[in-house]
Amino acid sequence: MEHFLALVSKPDNVPILAMLFLIPYFMWLAYKQARQTDRAGVPSDAALNDKVYVWPYLCRNEFVCAIIIMLVLGVWSIMIDAPLEEPSDPAKTPNPSKAPWYFLALQEMLVYFDPWIAGVVLPGFIIAGLIAIPYIDINPKGKGYYTIKERPFALAVFSFGFIILWIVLMIVGTFLRGPGWNIFMPWQYWDPHKIVPLTNVNLSYLFGIRDDTTANFFGFAVVAGYFALGPIFYFWKYKTSRFLQELGLVRYVIVSFLFLSMVALPIKMILRLALNIKYVWVSPWFNI
């Protein structure tokens, strides 16, 4: 418990504590307005194009908002001091060594994937995927107001990625990871000598494959088969789905690839936590 309290009271963890309240608050705010829109109908063009003068109406809002935020920041800065630990010492590694809180979701991914995926490839996909969003989301509805009914898929995917895969992993990394990057519940003592037996096996091993070459081909087949789900679904549903026809092949390939890559993270997490799977695909060059 003492270690957890020490974590909570760490000045650098104030922002992530604040997020615990801010995220639910803003989700509630957005949900309330979305429900209102979905019940009462989309605001008319006239309502959305109703114009007011920036001076004084917007400038006044900006001014008041700036004053309130500066007050909050001022009080925060007076009350809580920025941390300063001992002078840096390359010979003295703290355990655990944690990145700043906003990178802890990435550090948390390192548990489930090798560094080249968790630290380079997946962040690259996140960036590329975010930039691609407006170009692959061809749904013209829901522009300029909160709604759920008009774009359920887009909202579900983005919220899952942002809330579960980014914020929750960040919270786990901040508050539940202790020495040796092991999970410690808030009430548990941080035992630096805790031994977690590494009984993880590769997926191919679980299927009784003991030969490296066969295991390599097996892993390739599993990963290729997983990403082939996208095209299979496309050709299966193309004839009957107007949405797929409008989306087009190029956009669909990008959407399905990014989507499957994103879902691969929770799948790997479940495989690891439930079945002790280390790698899905072991090859001489890389492991996934």
């Binding site: 001076w55 917007l58 906003y102 630290g119 407006p134």
Partner: protein
């Protein structure tokens, strides 16, 4: 009574003394409101008029504006901190200590800089969440969303480069952990897949370029200092100008267009 007061007001505002101080009155007209925006160098990025729903806190959450405010706070406090801080391994930690214990309001200055930076990371994430939820990235605002994504990365990078500067254990190991990922970059990192290890080594890979060495050391401190105080803020300012300009050119913050 009212008539009397009005007469008195006119008497005062028409007096020679009043007129010598205030060159002209303030008309309550649309023309006046428009000029107020157009003729002010700080306000002219605003359009003269915007949609009424864009004023609504429940709609915008104010998060974009707060992000910009946090950037301004870090810029001002950052410049002040630069007077007291030397990015040299021998001095860096002592300078931060001096800020805490010797320099008047040094601690407050450092606190404001750090918490404004953390606040900026929070507000920029919430801003992106809001823009997504309201579908504000849709045509014709696709490109501005892309600029926003780059600005989000820049915010993280600014925060991360600044994290090293106190040169204490917290800073040193957080940055060590963060930059260790670069070892595993495919092809360009010396421990990554597909890397030609006879060409790309620990002493010339992408992590070396970032750190200026094989471990986090004095040259890393200097590199991160320059990135943090000069290079990245410059790029951030340019992209912010583009971001705000495009908000206006694309027809205001959102709503169907």
């Amino acid at each position: 009574m009212n008539e009397e007061r009005k007469g008195l007001k006119e008497k005062i505002t028409n007096s020679d003394i009043w007129k010598s101080i205030f060159r002209h009155g303030y008309e309550n007209t649309g023309r006046r409101y428009t000029l107020q925006i157009l003729q002010n160098v700080w306000l002219h990025l605003h359009p003269p008029r915007i949609s009424r729903h864009a004023l609504n806190f429940r709609f915008t959450w104010c998060m974009g504006g707060i992000t910009f405010l946090m950037f301004l706070v870090t810029a001002v406090t950052g410049v002040l901190l630069m007077f007291y801080y030397r990015p040299v391994a021998e001095y860096a930690f002592r300078d931060v200590q001096a800020l805490e214990f010797d320099i008047p309001f040094g601690m407050l200055l450092r606190n404001m800089h750090r918490w404004a930076a953390h606040g900026m990371v929070i507000s920029v994430m919430l801003h992106m969440f809001r823009v997504f939820l309201t579908g504000s990235y849709k045509k014709p605002r696709e490109f501005n969303w892309a600029v926003g994504v780059i600005l989000l990365l820049i915010t993280f990078f600014l925060s991360f480069t600044g994290y090293l500067l106190p040169w204490d254990q917290l800073a040193y190991w957080a940055v060590t952990v963060g930059t260790n990922m670069a070892r595993a970059t495919p092809v360009l990192g010396h421990e990554g897949p597909f890397t030609p290890t006879d060409i790309v080594t620990q002493a010339n890979d992408v992590r070396f370029a970032l750190l200026g060495g094989t471990i986090v050391g004095p040259s890393t401190l200097l590199r991160f200092y320059i990135l943090h105080c000069v290079a990245v803020p410059l790029v951030a300012s340019l992209l912010m100008a583009l971001h705000f300009w495009r908000v206006r050119k694309d027809g205001g913050i959102s709503g169907p267009l």
